[in-house]
Symmetry: C2
Subunit: 327 residues, 2 copies
């Protein structure tokens, strides 16, 4: 015992004067060694090395992340669609007319495919029936309650347990290196905000998404914001750079996506001056998650994959590059 204490004291004395520092814990333990991981680390080290040619001031270290298929899963359909269908079922008693009215009738019969057969018009109708008509505070509570209890039909997990562990590590790694992390998603902004801070460490003011209009009113002497059945902004495809400029006001230094819907966001990011970083998550793991790309109706990655290869953007092969998928 004494000997070990003495040895410890000796070691402390020796290392106090400038010996090698203790190895820092790996900030990306769920990323396998390989080109994807190396490209991320090399980029972060380049832009944070003070005095280096690639140095970027912290204020300009803006990183934008798609959500569906990039930070959490999106199969067999966007998780917000499950929310919509659950809400229709919950609200059905107040809407007896839905029994005979499409697309609601199909949803109530559990026939999602028929419900979606009406295309964009039917989808918008379902979105408005389930997302509008409440105050912003009421809607926040509806989402908070749903996300705390609803389970994915295939995995049986909470949806927030289907976030990607390697991406959580990446978000934390970027923030530890002075980056400000944003979500830029085609999903509904108020569907994400109630839980992104807890799950991703991304506060509401750093969430960009699609939105419906709201209206300020005084109800019984109390100001409220009422959600209207009218599209305000679609934050997808060419809308993503628009949303980034409108809500963030600077061009990102790094952008992360997984589908053709993110392509313009990555193009906009890549076209900035100096070093920029673009990454696509490629869904290649049918066993641990899902495998899909060019032919998928959800999260199609076709043109984006070609452009990533042509421009040398990083492409994560989920099967090879990620040691684990979910936390």
């Amino acid at each position: 015992m004494l000997t070990r204490t003495l040895a410890g004291a000796l070691l402390a004395a020796l290392t106090a004067g400038g010996a090698a520092p203790i190895e820092a814990a790996d900030p990306l333990p769920s990323w396998n060694e390989g080109p994807a991981r190396r490209s991320v680390v090399a980029f972060v080290e380049k832009v944070t090395r003070e005095g280096g040619a690639g140095y970027v001031a912290p204020a300009e270290r803006i990183a934008v992340f798609d959500n569906d298929g990039c930070l959490w899963s999106e199969q067999p359909m966007y998780f917000q669609a499950f929310f919509i269908f659950d809400r229709i079922k919950t609200l059905a008693p107040q809407h007896p007319e839905w029994k005979d009215k499409e697309p609601f009738a199909s949803v109530l019969e559990g026939d999602v495919k028929s419900a979606l057969a009406g295309g964009e018009h039917a989808l918008v109708e379902m979105v408005m029936a389930t997302h509008a008509g409440t105050t912003t505070e009421e809607f926040e509570k509806i989402v908070t309650d749903w996300i705390a209890t609803a389970k994915h039909p295939k995995t049986g997990r909470l949806y927030t347990e289907m976030v990607y562990q390697p991406m959580l590590e990446l978000l934390a790694y970027l923030r530890a290196n002075g980056f400000k992390t944003f979500i830029v998603s085609g999903g509904g902004i108020e569907f994400m905000r109630p839980w992104t801070e807890r799950v991703y460490g991304i506060p509401p003011e750093q969430v960009v998404g699609s939105s419906i209009k709201t209206k300020f009113e005084i109800r019984d002497g109390k100001p409220v914001l009422v959600r209207l059945p009218e599209v305000d902004f679609i934050d997808d495809k060419a809308g993503k750079p628009v949303g980034i400029q409108m809500r963030i006001g600077r061009r990102p230094l790094a952008a992360f996506g997984n589908s053709d819907g993110d392509l313009q966001m990555l193009q906009w990011t890549a076209a900035g001056s100096g070093s920029r970083f673009c990454l696509y998550v490629h869904h290649t793991d049918a066993e641990r998650e899902w495998a899909y790309d060019r032919q998928s109706s959800v999260g199609r990655l076709d043109k984006g994959l070609d452009e990533a290869q042509a421009k040398g953007w990083t492409v994560v092969d989920m099967k090879k590059d990620w040691r684990r998928i979910y936390p």
Copy 2:
């Protein structure tokens, strides 16, 4: 000399062991002692006192500031209007038709009053002629160049030298106490962003304002965002709570304004749970700045003044409460 050195050493020895700390520098040196200053300090101390009943976590410490008349002057007209008129003169050679077309003809003749006689329609026409048609990068450069050189007709100062020193101190004081400071202004968002970080310490992503639509395009292989002659959002009056929810996504803990255009923002803030803080800057100093309120066409403060008195919001009397106006 020796005696003083010894006394100094003695003092150092005595104070090292827990004597009273050196008085911290006053964070609000341009604020005179009085109820306005006291209310600000009391609020900040209450929400930051850990373990206290009024404690608010840093993430929720959102403070929103109007810009025109709250952070910088707005007389004899909004400074963005000077920008518009200057731009019309600069662009006139490319628009020979403006010589015979109102409101442009009046602007080119230096007759601002006639130019504004056309009301909202004429104003929108002038805004679109001067704010749309460029890319976002081009517009940023136009604003940056103008703000660096244009001088106010009465004071001869740069417009960014007509910001309020007491408000600069207040912004810094709030940030030092863990607040995130935002601008929520009726002014154009892209007219403010190029200089708010340098002048106020408020980064582009924390600026909320009025906007026109933009469109993503690939020009000569390079992605650009083109500014369109179409109103996207008016961030004024009932639009301010809407803008706050849309762009920030949390209710502010503190709100600062100076006109009836800020009333709904203050109402929305005040209606939150727990402690909230609302402050109006009242323009009472005709000598050092301007004196105006209920009858002014610019920055009218009428209903807001009544509501502030009724609800006990803080009202800054610029003449009495501020030791200095500009830096």
